[in-house]
């Protein structure tokens, strides 16, 4: 039997394409990438990144000054787009602020603040500078704490941190905790911002591409780190709901390797199958798959096997990483919101930058935008540690 669906009653997204839903939608439509050669701080790396312009000049002030760091600035910027904060306030008035849960995915939270503090250590004692506030910036929970504080919510609040599946799994946590009666509605989402840790870390692993990333391409050679924030307000769907619904979710572990995906995509396939099962849907009913599609040689190959195993070669799929870069812990929410826009507008986005599909890969990857009505669409998010999450969204044909 299908699970009780949740409606996305408000949503927003901010990334390298710009601030708010319209910036992302118009860039998806016209095929304009947000990627640029790396110009983050003084990082001297030959790679491309997806940076959100202007964060450097918009500090958090007043009551929120303690939270000031790039990650929370990005969260605030996103919360203020598309009337999202106003929708959360209206929900707080309806349900009570203590009955709305906050489930935020982040991988590195505000580690950038600690990176900067380590560069300003006292040369004699090694101590960190006075103004460094670990709890409100770097700590994993800082992102969730800032968001609940900014929105004036006082219910359960968690930071989910499972690398690049974090903000996809936030949807699963919200569904469970609402089902358990711990909250009546939920703000879900994620935020991850550029930092030296991920830029130099992926570089050290040889996974950062010196070019705009090319998912599924025969010449794909790695990912581009991006930054993003996005949020959705989740409420139990009404009968005949016309809004975009979370119809199913699936989660699994690879039990294989800390950084390398299972070569046959066994865990990924399990997550997709469970998302379908929770929606009581068959693979052939899915109209579009937004792939994790990071453009590293091994990740794309593993995901391709998994998609072929569950869906075969005919389901249209694409990776939108060529627009935004890989926004890590925010990838799940970013692509969930993209999928919701695609369902509403009848859009299957291209796999931007990809020129020649790798003949070794068989999934139905599309290279040009297509327009057609969509009823069900899947979003994949996978991460280090072998963590997998697939979300299935649907919309009543209207």
């Amino acid at each position: 039997m299908a699970i009780k669906p949740l409606a996305l009653t408000a949503r927003t997204v901010t990334n390298a394409l710009g601030r708010g839903l319209d910036a992302s939608l118009s860039a998806l439509r016209c095929g304009e990438s947000g990627l640029r050669p790396c110009d983050f701080e003084d990082a001297a790396l030959a790679t491309w990144i997806g940076r959100v312009a202007g964060l450097e000049d918009e500090p958090l002030r007043g009551d929120f000054a303690a939270f000031d760091c790039r990650n929370n600035r990005l969260a605030r910027l996103a919360l203020e787009q598309d009337d999202f904060a106003a929708a959360a306030a209206a929900a707080a008035a309806r349900y009570g602020p203590d009955r709305i849960g906050v489930f935020v995915g982040t991988s590195t939270s505000g580690i950038g603040a600690t990176e900067q503090a380590y560069r300003q250590r006292d040369p004699a004692t090694g101590a960190l500078p006075e103004n460094f506030d670990y709890q409100h910036t770097h700590n994993v929970f800082s992102a969730a704490d800032f968001i609940r504080s900014w929105l004036g919510l006082s219910g359960v609040a968690l930071a989910l941190s499972t690398a690049c599946s974090s903000s996809a799994k936030a949807f699963a946590s919200a569904w469970r905790q609402m089902s358990a009666g711990f909250c009546d509605a939920a703000v879900v989402g994620g935020v991850d911002s550029l930092c030296l840790t991920t830029l130099y870390g992926f570089n050290a692993l040889g996974l950062a591409s010196p070019r705009p990333c090319r998912p599924w391409d025969i010449e794909r050679d790695g990912l581009n780190v991006g930054e993003a924030a996005g949020f959705a307000l989740l409420e139990w769907a009404e009968p005949e709901d016309w809004r975009v619904l979370l119809r199913g979710y699936g989660e699994s572990s690879d039990a294989h390797h800390m950084t390398a995906a299972h070569p046959e995509g066994a865990g990924a396939a399990l997550a997709m199958e469970q998302a379908l099962a929770r929606a009581d849907a068959r693979p052939e009913q899915v109209d579009y798959i937004n792939l994790h599609g990071t453009a590293t040689p091994l990740n794309d190959a593993a995901e391709d096997r998994a998609v072929l195993r569950v869906f075969g070669p005919d389901t249209p799929c694409s990776s939108t990483k060529g627009w935004t870069g890989h926004t890590l812990g925010a990838a799940g929410i970013t692509e969930a919101i993209f999928v919701s826009l695609c369902l509403e507008r009848g859009l299957i986005p291209a796999t931007l930058n990809t020129r020649q599909r790798d003949p070794e890969l068989g999934a139905g990857v599309v290279l040009d935008n297509r327009e057609r009505p969509l009823a069900l669409a899947l979003s994949n998010s996978f991460g280090f540690g072998g963590t997998n999450c697939s979300l299935l969204f649907g919309r009543n044909a209207g």
């Binding site: 600690t114 969730a144 704490d145 219910g155 609040a157 840790t197 540690g385």
Partner: protein, 267 residues
């Protein structure tokens, strides 16, 4: 209020090297003495991985292993592989994060690839899944000082939704200098609870209810209270004390991520 059965417990902290060895001190049958933890072997992991794992990973896995080892097995004997898991930690692996931030402060910014992949919050979860062959879902989360309570809510919600046993592992370690100046954690602490959503043979029944985050229930013993208030994972100690004493208690867990009332009813 829906209930959960605590089937088994894992524990690893100074003076409490396991639930089996620490139970008497938590019950007040003998004085609690915070003796330093002996070295932990990480025997669950293959030899090549064992060399690379940090104190955080070893501590979390050690507590998880005790809880699973002392629970009633599945018919095929592979209990660990059959359990969804929730890993709760305030700050994750601060030794690894310190290493990375220190490397990034030097001119060549040579981040170690091993440190980078171990920097994610879900590293212990990943190693547990590899070591046990478990492909079930796993969450890794933080709610700062409320991480244990947040983890317990996530575990309960998962167990009820899937009608399956779930393993909760909560752990935190003192960060190295200079982070130690800004985050006070007094001692390493890990606890694991194997929770069953159905009535079952076990140590106690828990009932959970969100509550206003007021003052948390403290412990009477000053040394145990120092541990409870000095490590986010040790916020779970009042539950363990009630179970060890076989005494019904209503315990309040506080935190900025919402409060939680836990009714403990020993079996």
């Amino acid at each position: 209020m829906k209930a959960l059965t605590v089937e088994s417990v894992g524990l690893c902290a100074p003076g409490l090297p396991s639930w089996a060895a620490g139970r008497a001190a938590l019950a007040g049958e003998r004085a609690y003495a915070p003796e330093p933890l002996p070295a932990i072997a990480a025997s669950l992991l293959p030899a090549n991985e064992r060399r690379r794992v940090t104190a955080t990973i070893k501590l979390a896995l050690h507590a998880a292993q005790e809880a699973v080892g002392s629970a009633s097995a599945t018919p095929d004997g592979k209990l660990a592989a059959a359990l969804p898991t929730v890993f709760a930690s305030s700050g994750g692996d601060s030794e690894v994060l310190d290493n990375i931030c220190a490397a990034l402060a030097l001119p060549d910014r040579a981040v170690s690839p091993v440190h980078f992949h171990q920097s994610v919050h879900n590293t212990p979860s990943g190693y547990w899944s590899i070591a046990t062959g478990c492909r079930h879902p796993s969450s890794s989360l933080s709610a700062y000082d409320g991480s244990f309570g947040g983890g317990l809510m996530e575990t309960a919600a998962l167990a009820w939704a899937e009608a399956t046993r779930v393993l909760l592992v909560a752990y935190d370690l003192p960060p190295p200098f200079p982070l130690s100046d800004r985050r006070r954690i007094v001692a390493p602490f890990a606890l694991a609870l194997l929770l069953n959503p159905n009535p079952a043979r076990g140590l106690a029944t828990l009932r959970l209810e969100p509550a206003a985050p007021s003052t948390a229930t403290p412990l009477a013993d000053p040394e145990l209270e120092r541990l409870r208030s000095g490590n986010p994972a040790a916020r779970g100690l009042p539950l363990l004390c009630a179970i060890a004493r076989r005494r019904a208690e209503s315990i309040l867990l506080a935190g900025r991520g919402g409060g939680l009332r836990v009714e403990v009813e020993p079996a």
